[in-house]
């Protein structure tokens, strides 16, 4: 009995390769629910899959602790230096984590940082976004004005809308002059963007 308990505790503490695998999977499960909108991965499901021998309260404590740490790391979008300092501090404090657990957390963050950050960025985009864009060039053969016969025009279809909501389709006509006007403005935007990324 004591052996089994010890084994469970060791596993929960992330010791041994089994423990590390389980912790890695737990972090994935937490991230799926918190950042990728996968509500199906409930606590009960994760416990059953990963820590079947652990008591529910014990598992809940582990999940809360790991979830909290992941949230701190993700919220600060920690780079490797920050991560190392943070995890080292966590291994030193009372009721903190083991160095094995710290290693699993570090590996997980390195592999998932970009995706999790992207997900957080998307969560904050609640205005209209450009979802898609298609275009073609037509030859206008009829017009009120004689000088517009056989002028090429670009027909652009833009799909606009808020994340997760119905789209609005915008269909615009651009002649050569209007495309030039667009390009001039887009160049200015690009210049500003370059200046911005150089200073940050």
């Amino acid at each position: 009995m004591a052996d089994q308990q010890q084994q469970q505790q060791q596993q929960a503490a992330g010791a041994g390769s089994e423990g590390c695998k389980a912790l890695g999977a737990l972090l994935s499960g937490i991230a799926q629910a918190a950042y990728h909108g996968n509500a199906a991965l409930t606590a009960e499901l994760l416990r059953g899959q990963l820590y079947p021998e652990a008591a529910p309260e014990e598992f809940a404590a582990l999940r809360a602790k790991m979830g909290g740490l992941l949230q701190s790391i993700a919220s600060a979008d920690m780079d490797l230096n920050q991560l190392e300092a943070f995890l080292t501090a966590q291994t030193k404090k009372q009721g903190g984590i083991t160095s094995d657990q710290a290693a699993v957390l570090a590996k997980f963050w390195k592999n998932h940082r970009v995706k999790i950050h992207e997900s957080l960025v998307n969560q904050s985009r609640w205005d209209n976004v450009l979802k898609n864009m298609n275009w073609r060039v037509d030859l206008k053969s009829q017009s009120r004005h004689i000088d517009q016969i056989n002028t090429p025009v670009a027909i652009v279809e833009m799909e606009l809308g808020k994340n997760g909501q119905e789209s609005e389709f915008l269909c615009l006509e651009f002649d050569e002059a209007k495309v030039s006007q667009m390009l001039k403005n887009l160049s200015e935007i690009e210049e500003s963007m370059t200046a911005l990324t150089q200073t940050t």
């Binding site: 209209n128 915008l170 390009l183």
Partner: protein, 126 residues
Amino acid sequence: MMVFEGFASDLSYLCLSDVGGAADKISLIPQDFFAELCEQIIQHLNHKIPGVNTVELCQFVDIKWKLGVAMSSDTCRSLKYPYVTVTLKVADPSGQITDKTFEMTIPQFKNFFRQFKEMAAVLETV
């Protein structure tokens, strides 16, 4: 529509009965007659397939833009992502002017810019 159906069945008979000789058969049809038939087919398909053709074609009038950086949010203290907000001033077929505003991330903007450059290139060559 009756005229179309009659011609469509004739055309499919011509094409399906001898795939290899379809081009020859089509060349036997008087040109303006064939053009009329194609026009009818296009109209028929337009009614059957809703999509781009049902959206009103607007004229591009002007563009306004601003570049911002989202620093922080309730779910993430260190967002730091740059984005550009664009407002297009457009005129609908009746002449009424409206503003359409949307946001783009840097990769989205780069793609947007690239598409317009391609457009310019094509317009030049046509």
